[in-house]
């Protein structure tokens, strides 16, 4: 379908090392975009995933590269944006999927861990938006921030993660307004509970959660990724400052 074709778009996905970011990167590639992918943190495990993601994009005949970075490191993110422009020939789509899960009873929180969660999950997306905007202010572009239902609802032991995710939602709105007349659109995907996200302790807690979900199952990463193609495409040219929730209806419940 040509309405969502991303032919000619140059995308950067930060946090392609988690299941949602990876699925988005592949979906953008399937829709025709060239896609650079990067990790959230520097680890062998994440590096392996973004490398395999990049290989999959390469197999689709897309321009691509993978990079292992700390997504909260401003200098590294600036360099990544520049390298994307150099290697892919532009930067028209930025996906902030960096994600550092964290759950801890308030009394047990080590404040350095807490600051790190805010740094990666909230400051990281801002740093990336700003790095991309330096280029997009001339060319236009679409920024997609991946947030979580935990940015809209609270959860015990989630103070750090929930507040960072809520921050991403309003970061999205504020930057959307700031750049509305400069051709940069900023939207968010509000992801529901998704298979493979790794925040759930074990299979038993997953099953317990599923009983409460309207679909009686978690989302597949691909089910979150589809809307990213729409948000990246010119079909959503009038959409900015919004959160599109993909949660199977969970947020509708009292």
């Amino acid at each position: 379908m040509k309405i969502l074709s991303l032919e000619g778009k140059k995308a950067l996905v930060i946090g392609a090392s988690n299941v949602i970011g990876r699925a988005i990167a592949v979906a953008l590639g399937e829709a025709g975009a060239d896609v650079a992918v990067a990790t959230t943190t520097r680890s062998k495990h994440e590096e392996t995933i973004v490398n395999s993601c990049s290989n999959e994009l390469w197999a689709l005949d897309r321009k691509t590269f993978a990079l292992s970075i700390d997504a909260a490191d401003e200098g590294a993110v600036d360099d990544l944006a520049q390298r994307t422009i150099d290697e892919l020939g532009g930067l028209s789509v930025l996906v902030n999927a960096q994600d550092l899960p964290y759950a801890q009873a308030a009394g047990d929180v080590d404040i350095e861990d807490y600051r790190r969660v805010i740094d990666v999950n909230l400051v990281g997306p801002f740093v990336a938006c700003r790095a991309a905007s330096a280029h997009m202010l001339n060319t236009g572009g679409s920024i997609i921030n991946v947030a979580s239902v935990l940015g809209e609802r609270g959860m015990a032991h989630g103070a750090g993660y929930c507040s960072a995710q809520a921050g991403v939602l309003n970061l999205t709105r504020a930057l959307a307004l700031e750049w509305a007349r400069e051709g940069i659109r900023v939207n968010a995907i509000g992801a529901g509970w998704t298979e493979g996200m790794g925040i759930l302790a074990d299979e038993a807690s997953t099953q317990q959660l599923e009983r409460y979900l309207p679909y009686k199952r978690l989302a597949q990463p691909q089910e979150i990724a589809g809307i990213a193609v729409y948000l990246a495409s010119d079909a959503s040219a009038y959409l900015t400052g919004q959160v599109v929730w993909i949660d199977g209806g969970a947020l509708s419940h009292v």
Binding site: A176, R181, A219, Q220, E223, S252
Partner: protein, 270 residues
């Protein structure tokens, strides 16, 4: 399946209410472009015949049916006709609605009739259509319902009681559908911002969109493309949600305009 292939609506049958013009026509044409066959309904025969002709030009089947969504007999007949003609119903777009008499009246000047007509047009009609369509979708174990609300369903303006209440009601009606019929049937909402439908008077009234953050008004075909996304397999886990397509209006806004772009702040806070 590749991500773009999921947008293909070939073999699907869609009912679009309020399909004679504006958003309803644009949605009908976008669904036809994606491969769906269409039932196009509204009260005005000439208009739905025009829409049907445009759908047919795209090589899809179109059946124009006159229907008043505020009359449940008329709605039941329209849905039965759909089932009889096409044998199925995959996508229901409850788009009918809009301005009704007394909509801008002060509260004490709202007559009972004003309220009833406004709520019937903007809320009850969607319930009638959905109530008639649900048994077919349940039997198919699949269906997509898309209700068209408004920015006025989420926020309000002074002396705008009827329309805002009805459109807000439509939002929670949709959420209840979403929870009740998940996962086979999905129900979501589109909330358009300012869409003048090429009407010069509306373009003038909204100053061409100069108060919208993006600086322009919406184009009907942009709603059409969004409707295709929400009607397709691309959004299989999306349920009970609203996509606000408004050029950034609801993302910010400062009373009383709601759509003011930038208000200068004091020097020390810049």
């Amino acid at each position: 399946m590749s991500v773009l292939a999921q947008l293909d609506l070939s073999g699907k049958v869609a009912v679009v209410t309020g399909a004679g013009r504006g958003l309803g026509r644009a949605i009908s044409l976008a669904l036809a472009d994606a491969g769906a066959d269409l039932v196009v309904t509204a009260r005005t025969e000439t208009q739905i015949q025009e829409t049907a002709a445009l759908v047919t030009e795209k090589g899809r089947n179109a059946r124009p049916i006159i229907c008043d969504v505020t009359d449940s007999n008329s709605v039941n007949g329209m849905i039965a006709d759909t089932k009889e003609t096409f044998g199925r119903l995959d996508i229901l777009i409850n788009n009918a609605g809009g301005a009704t008499p007394g909509m801008q009246n002060t509260l004490v000047d709202i007559e009972d009739k004003h309220w009833q007509v406004g709520v019937d047009t903007n809320l009850t009609g969607a319930m009638y259509c959905t109530r008639a369509a649900i048994p077919i979708m349940k039997e198919q174990r699949a269906g997509k319902i898309i209700n068209v609300t408004s920015g006025f369903g989420l926020r309000v303006a002074r002396d705008n009681f009827i329309y805002t209440s009805a459109k807000a009601g439509l939002i929670n009606f949709t959420r209840a559908l979403a929870l009740t019929y998940a996962p086979e049937i999905q129900a979501n909402l589109i909330a358009p911002g300012l869409f003048p439908h090429d009407n010069p008077a509306m373009i003038e009234w909204w100053r061409g969109g100069k108060f919208v953050p993006m600086g322009r008004l919406g184009r009907d075909e942009e709603i059409g493309q969004l409707a295709v996304v929400l009607a397709s397999g691309l959004t299989s886990y999306m349920n009970g949600q609203i996509v606000v397509l408004d050029g950034g209006g609801l993302a910010g806004g400062h009373a009383p305009t709601g759509f003011a772009p930038v208000i200068p702040l004091a020097e020390e806070h810049r």
